[in-house]
């Protein structure tokens, strides 16, 4: 069994995953509400909370999997990227747990966790495949041939898609975290009411969302606060459509490239967005591509995906990892 630990942002997570990819437990203690009053994740508050929660979350994950530490063969932990102070809580706990039992330790790339989330569960995706990952922290398209390796084909040059959702929601006066709120409001609106840019920079597969956010800001300013309030649902629907179009437009290009895999996985918190899900289904159907959309709890940050990546790795034997450090940036 692999014990996974993930503390890269504002969720304290632990999970137990079998070598076959079966998820025996997947515990997430979300700090969302704690940060809502600040309008974003506060690193020092997140780090404090991680430390308060980490032991209970790990015990809970072991208990729900009906094992104790003696049933753990490998400890997997998110090494980065993420908030450094937050990462260090998980890395410190993981190293100490593993060392006390002379267990091997797998330092996992958080992004690989999202990319490979669909390799877990009962009908895992098989390489080669393309993965569209969109969350509050990252947005990119990657190609997987032999996990845990993946090749970044394109990425956002500025904001992440989830950030664009949250910032748009804030401009529309919705509470943080605004992504789900915006999704809900958009269902009541007309997505063709406003024309927002789908900026696709350059000829590659990169994204850009900062112009879109500015366009919404100008539109709200131009029509005035009263009108913006009255037409909030239309604004939300049109804004969301622009984000989803940009994400799926690039995904389509990636899938239409010569030699592209015929399998697509989506992941990251934005994969929970209803319009992105239905749009991805349409796109996959149209191109004859098989689509994997993991359940919601594997899209947002979680430790099962971290333990899942470790299945494809050669973990570091004790005591080789004692000096392991966290890393805020992507490897």
């Amino acid at each position: 069994m692999i014990l996974g630990i993930e503390t890269s942002c504002d969720d304290t997570c632990a999970a137990v995953v079998g070598a076959d990819g079966a998820i025996h437990s997947n515990v997430v203690a979300s700090q969302g509400l704690l940060h809502s009053r600040y309008g974003g994740v506060v690193p020092e508050i997140a780090s404090r909370r991680h430390l308060e929660l980490i032991d209970a979350v790990i015990s809970d994950a072991l208990e729900r999997a009906d094992i104790d530490l003696s049933g753990v063969g490998t400890v997997a932990v998110t090494q980065g990227p993420g908030l450094i102070g937050a990462l260090l809580v998980g890395v410190s706990a993981a190293k100490a747990l593993a060392a006390a039992r002379s267990l091997p330790l797998a330092p996992v790339d958080h992004l690989a966790g999202h990319v490979l989330a669909s390799t877990l569960g009962r009908s895992p995706i098989k390489p080669p495949f393309l993965a569209l990952v969109a969350s509050g922290g990252h947005t990119f398209i990657a190609r997987v041939d032999s996990p845990p390796e993946y090749r970044m084909l394109g990425r956002t040059l500025d904001d992440a898609a989830g950030e664009a959702f949250d910032k748009g929601a804030r401009l529309l006066g919705l509470p943080y975290p605004g992504g789900p709120e915006l999704d809900r409001l958009a269902r009541e609106g007309d997505a063709l009411a406003f024309d927002f840019p789908r900026s696709l920079p350059g000829s590659g597969l990169d994204f850009s969302f900062s112009g879109l956010k500015t366009a919404l800001l100008y539109t709200v300013r131009d029509i005035g606060p009263e009108e913006a309030k009255r037409r909030a649902a239309d604004l939300a629907a049109s804004y969301q459509r622009a984000i989803v179009d940009a994400l799926l437009g690039r995904t389509r290009e990636a899938l239409e490239q010569a030699g592209a895999p015929r399998r697509l996985a989506i992941g990251g918190g934005v994969a929970a967005n209803s319009e992105l899900r239905s749009g991805a289904e349409r796109l996959a159907g149209e191109l004859g591509v098989a689509l994997w959309v993991p359940p919601f709890e594997l899209c947002t940050d979680n430790a099962a995906m971290i333990a899942g990546v470790a299945r494809f790795m050669e973990p570091i034997a004790y005591p080789g990892y004692l000096a392991l450090d966290a890393s805020a940036r992507a490897a």
Binding site: H35, Y38, G39, G40, V41, V42, P43, E44, I45, S47, R48, H50, L51, E52, I54, D55, A56, I58, S59, L69, L83, I84, G85, L88, V89, V91, S92, A93, A94, K95, A96, L97, A99, A100, R101, G136, G137, D159, A160, E163, P319, L322, A323, L324, D325, A326
Partner: protein, 223 residues
């Protein structure tokens, strides 16, 4: 009682095993580590493994893990405490939380001692400890106020710690004595964490948190 002691309240990683038979196996950090960049993630666990090995004990033979809970560097404390808690959980034993300022005071050779830990942003974590106990509970303040407090409590007090090294000129000008520059009194030693542990009530690992003494900066991450 076989005790593993840890302190990470300053940039130096201090560890020690104090065996039930009184034998000590300690890594005393160098003074240079106090002014260098903190390297707890890279240094703490290798040092823990080293003293455990030197002591001839296994993790299962430990009776307690004692840890300095600050005040001190927030990130440092979290690394030390997360480590101590996980080691204790894995061994099925309890954690004894010790004040890092009191551990620092243990190493100062004077009747009245003023342990001072650099709190950054121009402030210090401070306490004043007399022969019969604490004269001033841990507090955070700018060095001028700390010097004034020490002089008003006991002008003979001897100050030490990375906070006293940083503001030595200010303290001496204010009439507060500071331990010699080369003295190991400036380092929080894990041996002292181990010794103080015997007077502390053990607590469940998950209940041990830092004594931050300062509210967090409530600014969202720039994204």
């Amino acid at each position: 009682m076989n005790v593993l002691g840890i302190d990470t309240s300053t940039p130096a990683s201090a560890v020690c095993v104090l065996r039930a038979d009184g034998e000590e196996y300690e890594v005393v950090p160098s003074l240079a580590e106090l002014t260098g960049p903190p390297g707890h993630a890279r240094e703490l666990m290798p040092r823990v493994a080293e003293v455990i090995e030197r002591s001839g004990l296994s993790y299962d033979e430990l009776d307690a893990v004692a840890v300095g809970v600050g005040p001190g560097s927030f990130t440092g404390l979290r690394i030390g405490i997360a480590t101590a808690r996980a080691l204790a959980s894995a061994a099925g034993i309890e954690v004894r939380p010790v004040s890092s300022l009191h551990a620092l005071a243990e190493g100062i050779d004077a009747p009245v001692r003023a342990p001072l830990i650099d709190a950054r942003r121009g402030e210090l974590f401070a306490a004043i400890v007399g022969p019969k106990g604490t004269l001033a509970e841990p507090f955070v303040a700018p060095p001028e106020q700390v010097a004034e407090r020490i002089r008003s409590v006991d002008p003979t007090a001897l100050a030490a710690g990375d906070g006293s090294l940083r503001f030595r000129g200010l303290f001496e000008a204010a009439g507060v004595r500071v331990a010699d520059g080369g003295s190991s009194a400036h380092v929080v030693r894990a041996l002292h964490v181990c010794r103080l542990a015997s007077g502390v009530r053990p607590v469940a690992p998950e209940a041990v948190v830092p004594n931050y003494l300062r509210a967090p900066d409530a600014r969202p991450a720039s994204t």
